[in-house]
C-alpha cells in the first residue's frame, strides 16, 4: 500500500509517471472478500458498509482497519452517536486481529459524539478536517454514519453536510468507510448513497430455525466485482466470506480430455462403453441398500491405487463407519491420497462446503470425487435454486479441471409398476446416469444396474445383475 513516499494510495504520483489509481486496493483482511471486490476496495474511495444491527458491520470494518495498520500512516476510527467508544473497543479485544500494540499509534479511535450532541450535524466535517491535518489518516471510518440522520433537522441539511464531507474526503489522500444500520430495503436515495463509490451490504436471513449471513456488493465504482450473495461467517477470526460459486469463465472443452476413467467396478466399465469420460459427472441413483456408497467408494479407491488423489464427501456415514468400509474394500484410510470429508447435513453451509471442495482440488490435486449423498444437500440447503445453480457450476468446474465425479442420490422404491422415477432436480445436469435397482423376491433381494444415459458415449442398454461381496460390487457376467 505504499508508494514509497510514506503516503500509500494513489495521491501524489509524481515525476510524470502515469498513474493507474484503480490498481491500488485496500484489503479487507480476508482474501475471499478481496476477491469478491475484485482485489479489495479501490483506494481513495468513499464506501458504505451497511446492514441491520448484529450483521457484523463493525467487525468487518475493524478487521479491515487492523489489517491495514502497517505503521505507514495512522487509521482513524471515529464513532458518532451510536455505541460509546469504550464499548466498541472492549468488544474489539475478543477478536484475533486485534493488536493492542497498534492502538493509539497506528489505529486511533476517536469520538465526535459530544460535538455532534452540542453543535449538531455540522460538527462532523470540521472534526474530520482537524483530524486530517493533525494525523493524516490513510483510512477514515465513521461509525455510525446513519445515526447522523437522527440529529439533522432536515434531509436538505444532511445533504449539505454529506456534500461537504465528500468534498473533503475526495480532496485528501484517504479511503473512507461510512458504517450504517441501513435496512436491506433501504432505497439508495440518501445523500451518502449518492456520493459513495462503493456500497457493501451484510445481511442475515432466517430460514426455519437457522440464520444465514451473506455479503453482497451493491456498487463498486471503477471496479469489477462478483455479483450476488456470498455466504458470510462471523467468528473469533473476524468476518470470513465464501465466494458464490459461478460457472468457470472458460467453458469445458471435452475434446482435450478424451480419456476414459475406470470405475473400479468389474463389469461396469464395459456397460459404460469403456469407463467414464474424464471430467464428467455421474448421477448414481437407487433406493437404500442398492450399493451406491459401495460403488462410490470403489471408484475413489480405484483412483487412489492408480495414483489419482480422491475425495469422498459424505453426509450420511460417520467417519468411523466410513473408515471401516474403506478397510473392508482393501483401502487404507490413512493413505494421503485419499481424502474423506464429513459434513453434518444439519449445520451444512453450502458455500463453505463448496469452498472446502475447491481447496482440496486446488491444493491436493484431487481427480476423483464422490458426493454421498446429494439428496442430503437438497435437504440441508434452505435455498434449492441456489443449490441447483451451485451443482451446475460445480459440474462445469469439474469438467474444466478434469475431475471425474459421482453424486449418489437416493430414490424411492418402485411402485407396483416397477418403474423407478429419477426426480432429482438436477438429473439433467449429470453427464451420465447409472440406476441401481433392488428387487425384493420372497427369499432374497436381487440387485441390478441399468445405464440410463451416457453423454458422448454408447452404453449397454441391458439391465444386468450385480453382486455385493465383502470385496465390493461386481456386475455378473451374462451366461
Amino acid at each position: 500500500m505504499s508508494d514509497g513516499n510514506g503516503n500509500g494510495t494513489r495521491g501524489g504520483v509524481s515525476d510524470f509517471d502515469t498513474p493507474r489509481p484503480e490498481d491500488v486496493r485496500i484489503t479487507t483482511g480476508s482474501s475471499q472478500t478481496d476477491r469478491v471486490l475484485g482485489g479489495g476496495f479501490p483506494a481513495n474511495s468513499i464506501n458504505i458498509i451497511m446492514g441491520e444491527p448484529g450483521t457484523g458491520k463493525t467487525v468487518f470494518a475493524e478487521q479491515l482497519v487492523f489489517h491495514n495498520a502497517n505503521g505507514d500512516r495512522p487509521i482513524l476510527y471515529l464513532t458518532t452517536l451510536s455505541e460509546p467508544l469504550t464499548k466498541v473497543v472492549r468488544y474489539l479485544q475478543r477478536f484475533d486481529f486485534f493488536d493492542p500494540e497498534k492502538l493509539g499509534t497506528e489505529v486511533i479511535y476517536d469520538e465526535v459524539g459530544t460535538e455532534l450532541a452540542e453543535e449538531g450535524v455540522e460538527a462532523l466535517v470540521p472534526k474530520v478536517r482537524e483530524r486530517i491535518k493533525a494525523i493524516g489518516p490513510q483510512i477514515i471510518v465513521i461509525d455510525s454514519f446513519k445515526a447522523l440522520h437522527d440529529i439533522a433537522p432536515s434531509m436538505a441539511h444532511m445533504r449539505r453536510v454529506v456534500h461537504d464531507l465528500a468534498g473533503l474526503l475526495t480532496a485528501y489522500n484517504t479511503t473512507a468507510f461510512l458504517i450504517g444500520e441501513y435496512p436491506e430495503s433501504q432505497p439508495a436515495t440518501l445523500p451518502e448513497f449518492v456520493v459513495a463509490d462503493g456500497i457493501v451490504e451484510l445481511l442475515r436471513h432466517s430460514e426455519g430455525v437457522r440464520d444465514e449471513r451473506f455479503f453482497r456488493v451493491r456498487k463498486l465504482r471503477g471496479s469489477s466485482f462478483r455479483q450476488g450473495m456470498h455466504a458470510l461467517e462471523l467468528s473469533k477470526s473476524g468476518v470470513q466470506v465464501y465466494r458464490r460459486l459461478v460457472s468457470p469463465a472458460e467453458p469445458p472443452d471435452y475434446t482435450v480430455k478424451r480419456q476414459r476413467v475406470e470405475t473400479g467396478v468389474t463389469g461396469l466399465d464395459d456397460m459404460l462403453g469403456g469407463g467414464l469420460w474424464r471430467g464428467t459427472t455421474t448421477l448414481l441413483a437407487g433406493p437404500t441398500g442398492a450399493g451406491k456408497t459401495t460403488i462410490g467408494l470403489q471408484f475413489v479407491l480405484d483412483g487412489v491405487r492408480r495414483g489419482e488423489p480422491g475425495l469422498y464427501l459424505h453426509l450420511e456415514e460417520n467417519p468411523t463407519q466410513l473408515a471401516s468400509l474403506i478397510e473392508s474394500f482393501g483401502g487404507d484410510p490413512t493413505d494421503e491420497r485419499l481424502h474423506t470429508l464429513y459434513f453434518s447435513p444439519v449445520e451444512l453451509q453450502i458455500d463453505r462446503f463448496i469452498d472446502t471442495v475447491f481447496g482440496l482440488i486446488r491444493n491436493q490435486g484431487v481427480r476423483r470425487i464422490v458426493l454421498d449423498a446429494v439428496g442430503d444437500l437438497v435437504t440441508a440447503a434452505p435455498d434449492t435454486q441456489r443449490l441447483h445453480d451451485y451443482l451446475y457450476a460445480l459440474s462445469q468446474h469439474f469438467a474444466v479441471n478434469g475431475v471425474t465425479a459421482m453424486m449418489t442420490f437416493e430414490t424411492a422404491r418402485p411402485g407396483i409398476t416397477g418403474v423407478y422415477r429419477i426426480d432429482a432436480p438436477f438429473s439433467h445436469l449429470s453427464d451420465n446416469i447409472v440406476l441401481l435397482e433392488v428387487r425384493l423376491d420372497e427369499d432374497q433381494s436381487r440387485r441390478r444396474v441399468r445405464i440410463l444415459k451416457t453423454r458422448g458415449s454408447r452404453h449397454d442398454p441391458v439391465v444386468r445383475e450385480i453382486r455385493i461381496s465383502e470385496k465390493g460390487i461386481e456386475v455378473v457376467k451374462s451366461k
Partner: protein, 137 residues
C-alpha cells in the same frame, strides 16, 4: 529566477485552485512545511498575481476557469518577466504527458498527499537553486 520570498525568508507559492477543501489542506500543509501561500481562483487572475508577487513556484489545477492550467503553464514559461518560475501541475486529471508538453516542471495527481506535495515543492526549489548557482559560474 526572480522568485520572491516573504519577509521571514519563506519561499512564496502561488496556488491556483477553486476547490475549497483542496485550498485549505494545501495551504495548511505547505505553511506547516515552511512556505508562504497565496491563492488565485482562475488562470487569468493567476497570471496577474504571478506578475505582482513573483512566486518561486506556481501550483495549478488544470481545470480552472478563464485560462486552464496547461495554458497558464505555457504563458508563465514564455514570460521573460517571470523567467525561471517553476510550475507544478496538480490535477484531478491524469494528464502527466500534457503537463510535460506544456513545460511543467512536475506533475502530481490528486488527491492531496501531503508528504509527496511538500517533497516535490522542496525538490523544485533545490533544483532552482542549483540552476542559479550553475548559471552564475
Amino acid at each position: 529566477m526572480n522568485g520572491a520570498s516573504s519577509a521571514g525568508g519563506r519561499a512564496l507559492i502561488l496556488v491556483v485552485e477553486r476547490d475549497p477543501h483542496v485550498r485549505e489542506l494545501e495551504a495548511y500543509f505547505l505553511e506547516e512545511a515552511g512556505f508562504d501561500v497565496e491563492f488565485a481562483d482562475d488562470g487569468e487572475a493567476a497570471m496577474q498575481r504571478a506578475f505582482d508577487l513573483k512566486p518561486e513556484i506556481v501550483i495549478t489545477e488544470i481545470l480552472v476557469p478563464k485560462l486552464d492550467g496547461l495554458a497558464l503553464c505555457r504563458r508563465l514559461k514564455e514570460s521573460d518577466e517571470l523567467d525561471g518560475v517553476r510550475v507544478l501541475i496538480f490535477s484531478i486529471l491524469a494528464a502527466a504527458g500534457r503537463a510535460r508538453e506544456a513545460g511543467a516542471d512536475a506533475f502530481l495527481v490528486k488527491p492531496l498527499a501531503e508528504h509527496t506535495l511538500v517533497e516535490t515543492v522542496r525538490r523544485l526549489i533545490r533544483e532552482d537553486g542549483a540552476n542559479r548557482r550553475g548559471g552564475a559560474e
